[in-house]
Symmetry: D2
Subunit: 261 residues, 4 copies
């Protein structure tokens, strides 16, 4: 099966980029069985709203993974319980609103998707390695796609090697910068440290430079503003053998989005 | 002028990769005016020794930048004072051993090199932005190459935009994973979030997976061991207009190093 | 001279405690030349408002130091420039709104007050040690009171020893828990790692347990609510020799505030 | 039953202080059923050795809890498996060497001791709240003593309130500074944010100021040296009702240790 994964969608420019590029990529790649995107920044950079979520599903995204920003809009949180296509990091403890993994079926293909959050340079959570162990060992389908939302390159890479042969793909998000290390590991797991960010790249990881620089220069809080320039669509396409769950190929996607007038 | 920058050299495999690839790259690119490498991991992954330093200079490296690991081998620290080709992060306070920037001359070309360390998810230091302001404003030559040794993508990108038009290149190190965002910014500054790592890539950012995983799985310290498999040479080549200091081009380098028998 | 220092005032219960106890303490101690309080949590736990500030000045507080929360209410920030009795951490870089130190005069006594913020487990700022060096070396009066707003016991203690004989008092804030290590150091500097918190102590450092526990149990953000039970007034009284600037005595204050009906 | 708990024992001065003060305190308090100490810094400030451990048991300590430094001396780690009187934080994952809790019996009294480590500003571990839930719910005896080895006051206090009525005592360690907030909570749990440190207090949390200050002033690593001046014995005495497990009383201990010649 063919899966398109889209790196953190940042605000309106990111949503527009997803809407414009998904159809083109479908044509170029001959269709996708699943389109997955990390949606944690899709509403103005901070979390999601129901409207934004529906816009993204309408643009052809089947499943929205998330990360630390999924909690930003308080009114949205109950949707994590009711909307099965939404995932939050699975390594929040039992009792947390929402789900961290699910099996999806489309076109006769079945794909388990697992959302995990790292702990290095991030807030305390349950162990993503042990959480993955448990979920994957009980997983009823061979193909498992993992979004590891984490800061540290070491933690992402360690998780991928730990899950090599057990997950179909381990792809990182959260840094908003795409890495150049895509690879099929020995056991058949597709790996990429970070899928990047879908949104305006002219500023600082999706926000305008002007709105971010005071934080670095003065140490005072800033009101971040979504960057609308140099909009790019970033992610990866993974080909998975549906029967074995092994990946056959991973290709980074990183393209400029030209605004139409 | 043409500058080859080499991402963190990791232990013996990294040193061997530098020695074998620098001459080949010279041939392919038609020579380099300066070869700069981040050396903070060149001695077994932790700091440098005098012997290792001389081996790297002998392999064709002109200047060694560094980062947080430069202090790891206590006996090496005095060399930071005596050896002008060594730089430690410039944003340590006045009174710290060694220097953080210098102007180098070769082939009639002059290049200022500035080493800075980030503060996000890293130990406290002086502000890298203000330190760069001061050094660059007093810099007697137009071409300034900056190694920003930092964890957070936001801090690296913000520094590059802040210095755009004032530095020739702002290239990141420290995460050991090469990013795919090389770019000439509007003001002529070449930027790359992270140059990557020169060493064995089969494990976890230069160490073997077996020696690193217990830290993640058990939360107990590990004795990290240098990875010798999948050795790659990673860095970037930057073309700088010597008169204006603006960069004309930046190209990532990321190549497998085949061992000769 | 005699100085009353009040640990972080937390919301309405903290303000009420300050208003009720300052007059009683004045009577018991025979008056204070200066009353200083850390006000960073005085408006609902997050920052200050103009109204709250005026209420605190009206309750007999002469100077309000602050810490990381001083920026929480955006509308309040300009007051840092206009109101001389307000201090924010002095080790924000030049260009930051407000001031970090000032000399105050009352009853014929002169006292310099310096507000500093730590960097260990806190956001990056300029070095508090170097900042103190500069300000104290230029200080026109012998008596200097330092509020070191910091998380780590090591950083607070190191600063106090570093300034011993140069500052009259180095008293910590930010953890909201009073420490039991009050002491006059060898050079005459009064020290206390943390002055504690003036507000409701039944919950978790000033907030109700119910509103804080989900963060620890689920890893999800909470809406913190100010605790109104077990209200305590915490701080310290320091006697300073106005001519030498050396402290003669430091006494912790830690008392229950009984509500009147 | 009466329990003496001793805050982090720091190197040789701390061990000498324990040896000299335990007998005196026994006399003053009319005996202790259990003497518990946090031993993580007892060998030169970093971990333990077998010799040091035996010296501490010989001085009258029954149980040694620990924290993040327990792993510092590699040769010592296997003793965590073989020596039942040693505890490491219980919230390391299954598979970690050693044990985190045990029931001890002495003088006909039974006491469960549980060692936990915090996660705020500390390395990732399993959740201390959930770990405590599980261990306490299965605990066969009513009296449970908890050492919460943690940096943040909020996490320690939150844990104590969470366990109120289920643990006999929740006493903090790790900051090396004794707090002044001892209290019997509503449900009968004795609480103290930090028991303090048993060792030389003239420097910075047990190390000499001279050996620690360069880290703060220059940002470079230091070789810390154990402080031998102003030696203090710090801890707490807790009276527990053996049948209900509720605490009746908690008293801080904080006394100078005069060297005998
Ligand atoms: Fe994101
Ligand atoms: Fe994120
Ligand atoms: Fe490195
Ligand atoms: Fe580094
Ligand atoms: Fe506070
Ligand atoms: Fe604070
Ligand atoms: Fe300790
Ligand atoms: Fe500790």
């Amino acid at each position: 099966m063919r899966v398109l994964f889209i790196g953190d969608i940042m605000g309106r420019p990111g949503r527009a980029a997803a809407a414009s590029e998904i159809p083109k990529l479908r044509d170029e790649y001959g269709g996708f069985d699943f389109v997955i995107a990390n949606g944690e920044n899709s509403a103005g950079g901070f979390g999601l709203t129901e409207k934004v979520m529906n816009e993204l599903f309408g643009a052809g995204i089947d499943i929205l993974t998330n990360g630390n920003h999924v909690w930003d809009k308080k009114d949205f949180v109950p949707l994590l319980d009711s909307e099965k296509r939404l995932l939050r990091p699975a390594n929040h403890p039992a009792g947390t609103c929402g789900r961290g993994h699910a099996v999806y079926e489309k076109n006769g293909e079945k794909l388990a998707v697992l959302c995990l959050q790292g702990r290095t340079f991030m807030p305390p959570l349950d162990c993503p390695f042990r959480t993955a162990d448990k979920i994957i060992s009980e997983c009823p389908v061979p193909a498992v796609f993992v979004d590891i939302h984490a800061e540290a390159t070491s933690e992402k890479r360690a998780l991928a090697l730990y899950l090599d042969g057990r997950a179909s793909a381990v792809i990182g998000t959260h840094t908003h910068v795409q890495t150049a290390d895509e690879e099929i590991l020995r056991g058949g797991t597709a790996f990429l440290s970070d899928a990047g960010m879908t949104g305006g790249h002219a500023g600082v990881i999706g926000m305008t430079a002007d709105s971010v620089l005071p934080k670095f220069l003065l140490g005072t809080p800033c009101k971040f503003e979504v960057c609308e320039e140099d909009v790019r669509f970033q992610g990866a396409v993974v080909e998975i053998d549906s029967e074995t769950g092994r990946s056959l190929n991973i290709k980074r996607v990183n393209r400029s989005v030209i605004k139409n007038h």
